[in-house]
C-alpha cells in the first residue's frame, strides 16, 4: 500500500506536494548559498571577503531577503489553504461518513434510497469524482490522514469535519490515524482503494446486498455471540458496537490496516485479538478448538 506525500494521487495532495517541493527546493538553494558564502569568507580573495563583511550585504541578505521571502511564502500558503477551504463547499458526488473509534474506522456510504451501507476499516473511492468524507468521533480526538490523497483532518468529539478528495488515479493507498488516541493508536490504519468509476459503482451495488455465506462457520458466528457486537446483514447478527462484517472477506486488511486479509489472519485475529492489537475492545476467543476457529475464518473469508 502506498503511503507517500511525494507521490500524490489527487489535486489536494498535489498542492501539498507542490508546496513541499518549493519549501525543500528553496531551502536547499538557500543552504547552498550560505555554504558558498561561508567558504568565500574563509578562503576567498580579500576583496570578496571585504564585500561579505559590509553592512549593506548583512542588511540585504540577513533582513530584507528573509522578510520578503517568508512573506511571499505565507501569501502562497494562504492561497493554497484558501483553495482547500473553498473546495469544502463544492457539491460532492460521493459522501462517505467516517467515524474514528478506538482503534478502528466506522464507515458508511449513502445507499440508493437514503439507506446507509455500513463498512469498516476500508474506504473505496472512484477516480475523477469529488468525494466528501464526513469525519466525526464518539470517544477521543482522532485524525484521518491519507498522505497520498490529501492533508490530515482531525476527528473531534462533538464536531463534524469535512475532507474533500478528488482521486486522479486508481491504486491502493494507506490511510492512518494521525493524532495519538490511546494504546493502539499506531495500529489504527485503513486501506483506501481508488477504483475506476464503473468498477466503483459495481462494487457499491455489491456492498449494498446482504451477505451470502453459510456453513458451520455461520452457525458458530451466531452461537458464539459474535452478533452481539458485529452485524452481518442478511443474518441474525445485528450488533452495531464493532465493525460491520457483511463483506469483510473482500477487504484488503483485517484489524484496521494491521493484517493483510486472509484465512491465517482471521484465525490469528479471533484467537489472539489482544496480542495483535493491545487493549482492543474485542475479547480473544483462543479457547475455541482449532477446527471451530478454522470454520469461522472460512466463513468470514467467504463474505466478499
Amino acid at each position: 500500500m502506498m503511503q507517500s506525500v511525494l507521490d500524490p494521487g489527487g489535486p489536494q495532495a498535489d498542492r501539498i506536494a507542490h508546496l513541499t517541493m518549493i519549501l525543500f527546493g528553496g531551502g536547499s538553494a538557500i543552504l547552498l548559498l550560505v555554504l558558498a558564502a561561508i567558504g568565500l569568507a574563509l578562503w576567498g580573495p580579500s576583496a570578496v571577503r571585504r564585500m561579505l563583511a559590509s553592512d549593506r550585504l548583512v542588511i540585504a541578505a540577513g533582513i530584507v531577503f528573509p522578510v520578503a521571502l517568508l512573506s511571499a511564502l505565507l501569501a502562497y500558503g494562504l492561497v493554497v489553504m484558501r483553495s482547500s477551504i473553498a473546495q469544502a463547499d463544492t457539491k460532492a458526488d460521493v459522501t462517505i461518513h467516517v467515524v474514528g473509534e478506538q482503534w478502528w474506522w466506522r464507515v458508511a456510504y449513502a445507499g440508493a434510497d437514503g439507506t446507509k451501507i455500513a463498512e469498516a476499516n476500508e474506504v473505496r473511492l472512484p477516480v475523477g469524482r469529488i468525494v466528501e468524507m464526513v469525519l466525526t468521533s464518539p470517544d477521543v480526538i482522532h485524525s484521518a490522514w491519507i498522505p497520498a490523497l490529501a492533508g490530515k483532518v482531525d476527528m473531534i468529539p462533538g464536531r463534524t469535519n469535512r475532507l474533500v478528495l478528488e482521486p486522479t488515479r486508481a491504486g491502493v493507498f494507506r490511510g492512518q490515524c494521525a493524532e495519538f488516541c490511546g494504546t493502539s493508536h499506531a495500529l489504527m490504519a485503513f486501506a483506501v482503494v481508488v477504483m475506476e468509476p464503473e468498477a466503483f459503482d459495481a462494487w457499491l451495488a455489491r456492498e449494498a446486498a446482504p451477505a451470502a455465506g453459510a456453513g458451520a462457520g455461520a452457525e458458530l458466528f451466531v452461537a458464539l455471540g459474535c452478533g452481539g457486537c458485529h452485524a452481518i446483514r442478511g443474518t441474525a447478527a445485528r450488533g452495531v458496537i464493532g465493525p460491520d462484517l457483511t463483506h469483510v472477506g473482500g477487504r484488503e486488511t483485517l484489524g484496521a490496516g494491521i493484517l493483510p486479509n486472509g484465512h491465517a489472519a482471521f484465525v490469528r485475529w479471533i484467537a489472539a485479538t489482544g496480542e495483535v492489537k493491545p487493549e482492543v475492545r474485542m475479547p480473544a476467543f483462543g479457547m475455541l478448538p482449532r477446527a471451530e476457529l478454522e470454520d469461522l475464518a472460512r466463513y468470514l473469508g467467504s463474505l466478499r
Partner: protein, 386 residues
Amino acid sequence: VLRLRWLKLLSRLALKRPLQAAACVVAVIVLVAVGVIVFAWSGLYNVAASRGHWYVVDRFLRFGMENSVRARAPDVKPPALDDPDLVRLGGAHYHGGCAFCHGAPGSRSSPIVQTMLPPPPDLQEQVPLWTNQELFWLVKHGLKYAGMPAWPAQDRDDEVWAVVAFLRRLPGLDPAGYESIALGGVEPDPSGGRQLATAESSPDAVGACARCHGSEGQGPTSALVPRLAGQSVEWLTRALHDYAAGARHSGIMQPLAAALSPRAVTELAQYYAGLPPSSPEGAAARASGSIENGRRLATDGDAAAELPACLSCHGPSGSREYPRLAGQPARYLSAQLMAWRGGKGGASATHAIMAPIARRLNDRQIADVSAFFASLSPVSGEAGRP
C-alpha cells in the same frame, strides 16, 4: 520511671560519647542474636506437638495473636449476616471445609486433628469472643503456625462473609438445625459395607455438590448458588477445569474441583447436564430490578454504552460453551456481575469476554438483567427466549 531514667542515662551517654554509645548498642544486639542462635542450635526447645506449650509461652502466643487480629480486622460494614442465603452457603462450605478440624454440632473433630498444637478450637465457644470483622479477618487470612489456612480465593470477600454469617449462627445450634442448614436436606446414599470398606473417597465428599447445588428435583439451597440442572456438559466441564486450575476464583469451588479426577469431572458434568431443569420458583424472589428494562437490555443491548445484547450469547441459540441464565437466582447473577465489575473472580478465557461487559454495567442495569433472567423459565427449553 525506671525506663525514663534509663533513657536519660542513655541519651546523656549518646550526647557525650556517641561512638562508644553506638558500640554498646551494637554489642548488645550481637550478644542477643548469638544467644538466640545458640539456644535454637542446642535443641533445648522441644517442638513436640504432644507436649503442649509451657503456660507462659501459651499465654504469650495467645496475647500476640489476639492483639494482631484486633489490630488488623478491617473497618468495614458487613453484609446482613442473618440473611438465610448467606448462612446456608456458609454452612454448606463449613461442612466440607471447616468441620474436619473444628467439628460440628453432633460430631466431634477427628482425633488426628485433636492432637494438633494448638488444637483447633470448638467454634461454638470461640465465635462469641470475636467481632464480625475479626471473624472475617481470621477466615480470610488464617493464622500463622496454627494450622489455620487462609481463604484460597483472596479476592472473594463475598464468600468469606458467607462463612462469617454461618459462624454467627453456630453457637447454640443443635445437630438437627446444623444438618438442615449445612447439608441442604440432601440424603446421602446409604453405602453398603463393601463400598465403605473399599471406597477411596472420604464419606464426607459424598453430597459435596448437592449440599449447595441440589440434586434431582431440588434446586440450589441458597439464592447465591447457581442452578446447574440443564446446563451443557461443555460449560460444566470448563467451569470445573477453570476452578481446578485456579483460573476461576472461589474459595468454595476451587478446593472441591481440584480434588476431582478427570473421570469424576465428566461424570458430574453429565449428571447435572442430564437433570431436568427444576422449577424456578423463587429465583426471581426479592429481585429488586425491573424485569421489563432487563428484557430490553438482554434483547437489544445498548450500543451507545457498548453493551451487546446478553441473549446474543446466553440466548436459546447460544453456544454450549456459555451458561444458560434462564431461571438462575437473581442474587447469584447480580453477585457474579458485581464480582466481574470489581475485577474479581479470575482470569479464564470466558472471564475475559464477560468482565469488560460487566464493567460497563451500572447498578441499576445489573439489578434489571438479573431480575429478567431470574423471571424466565428454564423448563420450557427455550432458555432465554424473551
